[in-house]
């Protein structure tokens, strides 16, 4: 314990900071010098740590029977790792597809949300859109791990496209209700910011304790960042803000003047405040490049990867209704939706990939404390709508190939364009993404009204949308059976109180899912939780 206390003392002086030397000391103290060498060797390749692959576990489950409930983002990897460890695994899944929240919508896809009519997608062949997770950040290593294991081809999820549009309404000034290219907005704001700062430095008006050398370097930086005139330190037109007419044989092209700063300010401020604001796409860890996805949508990893690997261990259309356990086993009662019969399956352990919002509706004999923890975490509402269009007007007319456009319309949020099959005839675009009360209100409308509302908003950025419309497909996750919410809404109290309890097994039942991690709402959280629980379960079985 001395060693650990030593580490604690160091981090108390520098909270959150572990120096390389300190880390190597810790590794050496706990794992020996060979481990230090391994770390040193690996350092170049593993700059960010975290768990990047399934735990390496010894021993064999020898046919110990595990029932996995839910072939979702956490259930599939848990089942697959258990299979590889020699367990006898059966996966029961309530839906008629694997993936759960991972849901790539193509022609023929269906939903039957609570209180709604059935919705059937009628987009043409080759057109798809992800109703659930759609982008995988570069640091979500588990996705890369399984995509590699299952040979699923990945493409870039572009996320940021400087030729995408930014639109703001209900703002002051002449740019109200106008759209501009992101490269215009970025160049102008960088230009003006640099101009004001550089001028302040030049006039000795920057109220900061900088040396003359620092000030000179800062000025140089600003001059290059903002594309300022070096002599006057003023911002003016440059190709950073894009062309209004691109160069050709007849002309060197035309570049528009920057927007006047006072006109631009309300627009820029509103655009930054908006949901999933454009700055997130350039700078947040979750949204910055590189992001990826499978070539045929995120669902491809589950449909072609896990589903093929797990084979007939997966039983679709089986809706769990009861989880019962005793000293020596678990019993899961489910409705076989194909036969309408109630059936049951017994095993040694259960791995449960059901969202808490749904789990609390099942009959269970969890301990009172565990049951209370499952009830403690409310879920958020979110609505995503894809619209299929006959023609890729955003490519043909606007020269936008992938990435997003950003708006400050709370009902609309962002537009997300297809990142592949450029020049294809048709395409589907994320055409509405909203949260909370907006999601609640819009989801209460009949589907045709929802689609019409989305089209009305999309037309502000793309007037061609109505003309090229095929059909919409709206998924309000709080109304989806077997989901009942978009993601858990932890607060500091439930994070500290409920989550640790949920991470431990209740008897023979182990939960998996993103709700057991700090990476909520992302596939990565679900897989990390699956790996954690598989390790716990296997360790227990090996200890007999």
């Amino acid at each position: 314990m001395d060693r650990v206390e030593g580490a604690g003392a160091a981090s108390a002086r520098h909270p959150g900071i572990i120096t390389r030397r300190r880390f190597l000391q810790m590794v050496g103290a706990t794992a020996g010098s060979a481990a230090v060498m391994n770390v040193l060797t690996a350092w170049g390749q593993m700059p960010m740590g975290g768990q990047t692959e399934p735990p390496k576990l010894q021993g064999n489950g020898n046919g110990t029977k595990v029932i996995v409930i839910g072939a979702g983002p956490g259930g599939c990897p848990a089942a697959w790792e258990l299979v590889k460890l020699g367990y006898d695994v059966t996966v029961i899944e309530a839906r008629d597809r694997v993936g759960g929240h991972v849901f790539t919508v193509r022609g023929g896809a269906k939903t039957q949300a609570y209180g709604k009519d059935e919705q059937v997608c009628d987009w043409p062949e080759g057109v798809w859109w992800d109703a659930g997770p759609s982008r995988i950040p570069f640091y979500h290593r588990s996705f890369f791990h399984y995509a590699k294991e299952f040979n699923i081809p990945l493409i870039d999820h572009k996320n940021l496209n400087l030729n995408g549009w930014v639109y703001a309404e209900n703002i002051d000034g002449p740019l109200n209700g106008k759209k501009m290219r992101l490269h215009e907005l970025q160049a102008d704001m960088a230009g003006y910011t640099s101009q004001y700062l550089a001028t302040a430095i030049d006039q000795g008006a920057l109220d900061q304790p900088l040396t003359a050398e620092d000030e000179e370097l800062f000025k140089q930086y600003l001059t290059n960042w903002g594309i300022l005139d070096e002599m006057s330190l003023t911002y003016g037109p440059s190709d950073h803000r894009g062309y209004t007419t691109v160069p050709d044989t007849q002309s060197a092209g035309e570049i528009a003047d920057p927007y006047p700063f006072t006109d631009l300010l309300p627009f820029a401020a509103a655009a930054l405040r908006s949901a999933g604001g454009y700055l997130a796409a350039t700078s947040t860890f979750d949204w910055q490049t590189t992001l990826v996805k499978p070539k045929e949508g995120v669902g491809q990893l589950y449909e072609e990867g896990f589903k093929q690997a797990l084979g007939d261990r997966i039983k679709l259309n089986c809706e769990a209704t009861e989880i019962r356990q005793s000293e020596d086993g678990v019993r899961v009662v489910y409705l076989n939706k194909e036969t309408g019969q109630t059936e049951e399956i017994s095993g040694d352990y259960c791995v449960c990939n059901i969202p808490l919002s749904v789990l609390i509706k099942l009959k269970t004999d969890f301990s009172p404390e565990f049951r209370e923890a499952t009830r403690a975490v409310p879920y958020a509402m979110a609505l995503r709508m894809g619209i299929g269009y006959k023609r890729r007007f955003w490519e043909e007319d606007d020269w936008i190939y992938g990435g997003q456009s950003f708006t400050n319309i709370p009902e609309l949020g962002i537009l997300d364009y297809p990142d592949d099959n450029y020049n294809a005839a048709a395409g589907a675009m994320l055409s509405m993404y909203n949260f909370g009360n907006n999601a609640a209100r819009i989801s209460s409308l009949p589907y045709e009204e929802q689609y019409a509302l989305a089209l009305e908003h999309v037309s502000k950025i793309h007037p061609q949308a109505k003309e090229e419309y095929i059909s919409g497909f709206s998924v309000a996750w709080h109304l989806e059976p077997y989901s009942l919410g978009a993601w858990p809404s932890y607060n500091a109290r439930t994070r500290a109180g409920a989550m640790p309890k949920l991470q431990e097994p209740d008897g023979r039942v182990y939960l998996v899912g993103e709700h057991l991690s700090n990476v909520n709402a992302w596939i990565e959280g679900a897989v990390q939780a699956a790996w954690m629980q598989v390790e716990k379960l296997h360790t227990r079985v090996m200890q007999g």
Partner: protein
């Protein structure tokens, strides 16, 4: 109505403020609300405002007839838990959320929570007394230890974090600022 609509838009900004908390950029927990004291709303005003919120938000799950969906979304019509003389349980559930139901402490202020609960307590044959904003404030204080959240400038909307319930100085996140 004018007063109510201003309350609504102010509340919308609070959601944004909560989202911004996740960014750690807007210190707002623990500040007192500086809104001018307004006359207490009449019961009719509460019901009208409550109906408006119900038909815009709650209706998605609890349905136009307040009966919910059997076994999935709890019925509000004829639910004795909601019409007890002391409305604390009902108010707390709306503020904090429960199970699949999101918390509404973030998006709605005391008067609006009073409006929603009053409306439900008197709709579809339910028959219970109105809930006052003061009653809501008391429950909110008990839950959060923080009386009211300070509004921020207009136009801020959530970037995914709509979870709401502020807890003593900590971000309420659960949802990344850049959504999946």
């Amino acid at each position: 109505m004018t007063r109510f609509s201003s309350v609504r838009s102010r509340a919308a900004t609070i959601v944004g403020a909560v989202a911004f908390l996740a960014l750690g950029s807007v210190p707002l927990i623990g500040q007192a609300q500086d809104a001018a004291p307004a006359a207490a709303p009449t019961e009719q005003e509460l019901i009208a405002e409550g109906e408006k919120i119900y038909t815009n938000v709650c209706i998605a799950c609890h349905q136009p007839n307040g009966k919910g969906v059997d076994g999935i979304y709890l019925p509000l019509a004829g639910n004795p838990l909601l019409t007890t003389e002391d409305p604390t349980y009902f108010v707390r559930t709306v503020l904090t959320g429960r199970g699949g139901m999101p918390p509404f402490a973030g998006p709605y202020d005391d008067e609006q929570i009073a409006a929603i609960t009053t409306y439900v307590r008197q709709a579809w044959g339910n028959d219970a007394a109105a809930v006052s904003p003061e009653q809501v404030a008391a429950v909110r204080a008990e839950i959060t230890g923080v009386p009211v959240v300070q509004p921020t400038p207009e136009g801020q909307i959530p970037s995914g974090n709509v979870s709401g319930t502020p807890v003593s100085g900590a971000a309420t996140a659960g949802t990344p600022e850049a959504t999946p």
